[in-house]
Amino acid sequence: MRSRRVATWLAVSTTVVVTAGACGGSGDGAGGSGSDRSDATISIYVTEPENPLVPGNSTEAGGGRVLEALFTGLVEYDPRTGEPRNAVAESIETTDSKIYTITLNDGWTFHDGTPVTAKSFADAWNYTAYSPNGQQSASFFTQIQGFDQVNTQDPDGSDGPQQAPQPAAKEMSGLKVIDDRTLEVTLAEPFSVFPTQLGYSAFAPLPEAFFADQAAFEANPIGNGPFRFVSRQPSVNILVERYENYAGAVKPSVRAVEMRVYASSEAAYQDVVAGNLDFMEVIPPSALAGRLFETDLPGRSASETYLGIQTVSFPVYDPRFQNPDLRKAISMAIDREAVNQQIFDGLKPPADGYVAPGVPGRVPNQCGELCTHQPERAKQMFDATGFQGPIELTSNVDAGNQEWMQAVCTTISNALARECNFVPVPAFGEFRTAINAHEMTAIYRSGWVADYPSIENFLNPQYRTGGSSNDGLYSNPAVDATLAQADAAPSVEQGNALYQEAERMALADMPAIPVYFQSVQSGWSERLDNVIVDPFRRLDLFSVTVS
């Protein structure tokens, strides 16, 4: 007994020493000793970026991978916990969650050698927010004072004949560059989550070269991140290499990263198994079936949840779906565990709330029994609503959503003794067009992957009146008021408690049914060590080493 305890203790202490050694090694890198720096190039899977490589104009995963390596924002997120910590920022101070004084660290430079100053941030943000520039991520700056002066709305939408009026100003009045290292940001309303938001790629700084010649910048992006751009061959690869003057505290060990474009994840998977590709984070369904990847890649794969949730949403604007009891009945009719076991081999845990696991501020089981399988109660409730006709579920089917949607439909049908049909839509573009136009007549698949790790990001965009992703046009003044209160909370902790309350209130209305939490299955080659997949399902390029 005693000896076993000693053995355990020894094991623990060894682990600590090893871990400490690893940390020390990385830390030394900053000091310039560079003992654990390797000359290795690793290859990782990406999809072809769909947008120019400009941080404020790219929101999809392929481009995001590249931009993440090229740019570092004021804050960054811990690859294990997702907690924000200062990166370019030395400190972010506020007393009222409205006026933030951001001090920058010394010594940060862009890859062309020019310094990263407060102006680099202010110019980049103003550029992205200014509506005539037509940047995708403009809406991330809504909170900053003066946003409405630089970003005007088209009165009849982009389809109508009218043009959006020319904005009155080119710069947001809430951004003040005090000196090279100090930026003062004034928000229109207090917003306690603002510092967390700053790690999102839309908030990255831009060098002067961007404003001088944008086409040249797009062909050869210049960032301030741990890796600098080397070359790009469209639909083949993007090559980045370690930026030796990177000012971050932790520096990457690998010398270069080849981001290799694959047309299909199946082909990439074969390459990982054969050792031709070092890392991929989307193991294809063919290898998930029966958990084949665990035998193909022994000890070289991981399955974990990330900051994403899969829901099915109601078009609340459709009078047929306005009764909350109907929505709750359908939620209780879904057998989430059966779907998880039958379709996903137990890899995607049933959702018990609107916020994904691992998000700071989340509490489990917010949904309670509304998200559990209760066929009798569901049927009773459903029959009382007098809903006519078959239940219809719809989704795009170009990214493999058909199977689980159909399974959900079957469980609903079994519980409610009502016909349930799955209506496939061929392409995501077509599907989104109908959603954006608020022309949905069926319950539709919706999902959310966090932009930044905060409970706030799961609620405000989706469940607040006028939220940027509130496609079902759900509106509840009480939820809005609680969310506003949470935004204005003096501290993150107090804010989180209010967000949790708002989440419970929204769940009681059930404008969207949580189905499962997204999980990522990643696999890597035999040469990689210290593989950490961060909450954004990216390989942490700082910690990965090559043996």
Partner: protein, 308 residues
């Protein structure tokens, strides 16, 4: 002959204009807004959509859009993708790869198919004939993606003879297995065509005459019989080469070959009208030229055929 070729070349012009216009309109008529899916699970800002539409002339009527596109095309400008990459660059990268793959597939199907066809055609009903009959039936019955995956997994992963995917350089040696997969179906057809043709012509008068003249069997088969029997096979191979150069979406996908098929497929999904039209225009021209080449080859093979 020269005038015939010239006339056929002139015919390319209206076909070119008609085909580009049709493709342009078809891409334009695809359901869904090209920018609806650009921003993930949230709608894109109106300002972004307005700016992009202006940049790609999407607010004009489809005729004006097409006119602008054609004007650019005549000046050698294939346009650019929504991510700002020149379409000409994409085509220049992808086309040589597709061409190589098509050639490899064509050589494999022609060599193996013709050999098997001749051998079985000369001895119909034998053991070999039955074996080839069964194997061609087998090949025809299996979809390409099954052949592709099976070969990739057995040769690439289990036995480690080849890399499971093709590198960006796409050397000929890497393309042998994908080429075989791609050509396997046509190989079966070539075999069947050649076999039928040979066994039919074997009984024809001119072969009997040649044999009666006392020519050596090798010359009878190699020159007299094969030349006449090759016509249907050449027709088939010509059409097939045109199809192969149109890219092979499935085979390219399995082996991650950066060819033209995958490019068109991705561009259709993302509604990149400029890319789709640019590539398809090129394919149309290649297809027409291939057909012309086949027609000219007829005259070479069969002196009775004359154009002029």
């Amino acid at each position: 002959m020269g005038r015939y070729v010239l006339r056929r070349m002139l015919q390319l012009v209206p076909v070119f204009i008609g085909a580009t216009f049709l493709i342009y309109v078809l891409v334009w008529a695809l359901p869904g807004d090209p920018f609806a899916a650009k921003c993930g699970d949230r709608p894109c800002p109106d300002a972004y959509i307005t700016a992009m539409r202006e940049r790609f002339n999407l607010d004009d009527s489809v005729f004006v859009q097409y006119g602008k596109y054609l004007l650019g095309l005549l000046q050698g400008d294939f346009g650019e993708t929504f991510s700002g990459i020149q379409v000409s660059e994409l085509i220049a990268n992808a086309y040589p790869v597709t061409l190589k793959l098509a050639l490899v597939a064509l050589v494999i199907e022609a060599v193996i198919g013709l050999t098997a066809g001749v051998v079985t055609g000369l001895r119909p009903g034998g053991y070999l004939d039955n074996l080839v009959l069964v194997s061609t039936l087998f090949l025809i019955a299996i979809p390409v993606f099954v052949t592709g995956f099976v070969l990739q997994v057995t040769l690439g992963l289990r036995w480690g003879i080849i890399d499971p995917t093709v590198s960006a350089q796409a050397d000929f040696s890497e393309l042998i297995v994908p080429g075989f997969v791609l050509g396997s179906l046509s190989m079966a057809y070539v075999t069947r065509l050649a076999r039928t043709s040979i066994s039919e012509n074997r009984r024809s008068d001119y072969v009997r005459t040649a044999v009666a003249k006392g020519l050596r069997p090798r010359r009878v088969v190699g020159v007299h019989l094969l030349r006449n029997s090759a016509i249907p096979v050449i027709t088939f191979l010509g059409v097939d080469l045109g199809a192969l150069m149109g890219g092979a979406i499935v085979t390219e996908g399995i082996f991650n070959i950066r060819g033209i098929g995958g490019l068109v497929y991705r561009s259709i999904l993302t509604k990149e009208g400029a890319t789709v039209t640019g590539v398809v225009v090129l394919l149309v021209i290649v297809y027409l030229l291939m057909n012309l080449l086949v027609d000219v080859l007829y005259a070479v093979l069969d002196p009775r055929i004359r154009y002029d």
